[in-house]
Structure formats: structure tokens, C-alpha cells
Symmetry: C2
Subunit: 157 residues, 2 copies
DNA sequence: ATCAATTGGTACTGGATTGGTACTATTTGG
DNA sequence: CCAAATAGTACCAATCCAGTACCAATTGAT
């Protein structure tokens, strides 16, 4: 299954939360409580988002985080990049091409780059404003890993 | 980083290998040797692909695997589905929506489905024939996890 | 000035996932 | 009837990830 980490998942939830009601700054504690997420995680994620320039941070009492740009100017790709590094579907989509150990055997070559580009385009096409406004048919979002038996995934092909 | 497992990566290499020179059937051992991959892994992957209907298996002496359909009729999405279950970028893209533990907190909702669809479309648009024919500028493919220091990924945005 | 709230940074840990192996059963051509 | 090959299952070790803990730095309020 192609997937992003839960950290990124949380990150998007936090960003959308901040985008929805504009009343900055938001402390990590407030956001954690509002969304029911573990505070240390939230803190860690916000820090990363601030370092990436997506959030502005204000230290000290009454401090907190606020969006660095308008929601329309922040894409899903931005958030994912900030939290897990640039998007790449396989490890071979790297700059350092000659480090590949299977180089002489590998003939699949550059097509993954093409796929990566399309995926990136898709993610860049979705911005925070879109994400913070519920679509026509709102649905549940995550499911905890706790799910004991194999989750039956939907094949929306 | 959005990613697929190495198993899937191997699977695509194996499929492209079989698509390139049509001389079936291929034994797991022959494919493993040709690509320099560990035989047990190759065997496991081929089994999964056969179970998914992408390969035909022939038991016994002189047996092996062969493509079940023409290369043009097998997409990257097919292979990924076969090896890691249906594609979903987050765990919430599941059918069983009401199982979501954060239901009342989650407002990001259905947009990921949209993104998933686009990604699926991208992967369905690439077939085995494409993948088995090197593109204009062939490049190396994987890099072993061994890479000690943080890989500097290319941000092809 | 001092305190308390808040971000910043780093290091650690338990558990899940993944990559890979081993062993045995089954099928089938020679 | 043997050897080659797939089929199935169980297992192990290394890695990665989610989450925690701790302390330093900053800053508004009193």
C-alpha cells in the first residue's frame, strides 16, 4: 500500500484546523486538545512545519503558531514535503543516481520519475482551503492501527 | 516520503523482465539469477503475482511463470495492487468508514479519496510495455537501504 | 526581576512492519 | 520413479515509526 506516515496525517489535520478559524496564534496544547491528539506529537509536528516555513512561531507566554501564508497558498504537497521530505515513490527517484547497486541490472529506469511527477501534481493541486472545507459528502478519516483484523480496503479503481 | 515496499519494487522489475523477452515460462531461479535478487524473495513475489492473476504458473519440471496478459494490458497499478493490496494513501481511505475513532474530530474528510483517485489514474496509465522499454534517458533505479547518511532526495516540483 | 507559559532541540524506547530464510508438500515431465 | 519446479506456511532479524521524556531558550505578565 502506498502510504504516508501518520505524522503527516496529523500534520494535515493540524494545518486544516488552523486554516478553518483564523484566530492565531494557536498553542500546541490547544491544538492537541481540540483534536484529541497526543501533545508531544503535535508539538513535534508543529515544530517541523515551522522549520519548513509553513508556520510562523511565536515563543513565550501567549505565543503559538500561525499559518505563514494564506490557506490557498499552501498545498498538500507542501505539507508532505515538510514532514517527510520530498515526495518520491521509490528510493531510486534520487538525485544521486550512480549510487544504485543494481544499476547494471535495472532496466525499469526513468518511468517512475514520470509517475512521481503526476503524483506531485495531484498533491500540489489540493490546497489547505480545499481541505479545510468539507466536501459534498463528508466521510470519516483515519482509523487507528489498533484494528485487529485485516482492514478491507476499498478498491476505487 | 510516499513510498511502496521493496517487494513491490522487485515485483515490477520481475514483471518487466518477463515482458521484455517473451520466452516463457520463466523459473523463479532463472529470474532471480538474471536480476541478481535473492531467490526466496523472487519466489514469494511470483507466487503473489500468480495468485493475483497477473502471471500463469506451470508446475513440475520445465515449469515456471509466464505473463497472463499482454504487457500492454498490465498496469503498474495492477502490480502494486497485487503485491500490497489496493492502493490507499492513508488508512482512512477505507470502506468501513464508521470505524474511524476520530470521527467527530476529523474534518479533513473525503479529499484524500480524490487524491487517491488521481494517483491511481497515474499508475494505471503506465503499463508493462512502457516500463519494459527504456525511455529516452535511462537512469538507475533502486538504491539499497544500506545508504548510511540521509539520502538527499530530488525535489522535482 | 521573576515567574510561568510556550516553543526549540535532542535523545530514547517499545512495537509494528519489512525483508529475508527455512522447511515441507505437491505437481509433473522425462 | 526421480528430479525439477511451484505452493504453502511458519519463522527470524533488522529496520523504521509513533510516541515519550527531558531540558534549554524565549517572552509576556505580574
Amino acid at each position: 500500500m502506498i502510504r504516508i506516515t501518520r505524522e503527516t496525517d496529523y500534520g494535515i489535520v493540524l494545518m486544516t484546523t488552523m486554516a478553518r478559524d483564523a484566530n492565531p496564534p494557536y498553542s500546541a496544547a490547544a491544538l492537541a486538545k481540540q483534536r484529541g491528539l497526543p501533545l508531544p506529537m503535535v508539538s513535534k509536528i508543529l515544530k517541523a512545519l515551522a522549520r519548513a516555513g509553513l508556520l510562523l512561531s511565536q515563543r513565550g507566554a501567549l505565543g503559538g503558531y500561525s499559518l505563514a501564508r494564506r490557506p490557498e497558498a499552501i498545498s498538500a504537497a507542501d505539507i508532505i514535503d515538510a514532514l517527510e521530505g520530498p515526495i518520491a515513490i521509490t528510493e531510486c527517484s534520487v538525485a544521486d543516481l550512480h549510487a544504485c547497486l543494481h544499476e547494471e541490472n535495472c532496466a525499469v529506469s526513468g518511468h517512475w520519475h514520470q509517475i512521481n511527477s503526476v503524483i506531485r501534481a495531484a498533491l500540489k493541486g489540493v490546497n489547505l482551503l480545499d481541505l479545510s472545507r468539507p466536501p459534498a459528502a463528508p466521510v470519516a478519516f483515519w482509523r487507528q492501527r489498533a484494528a485487529a483484523e485485516p482492514v478491507h480496503l476499498v478498491n476505487n479503481s
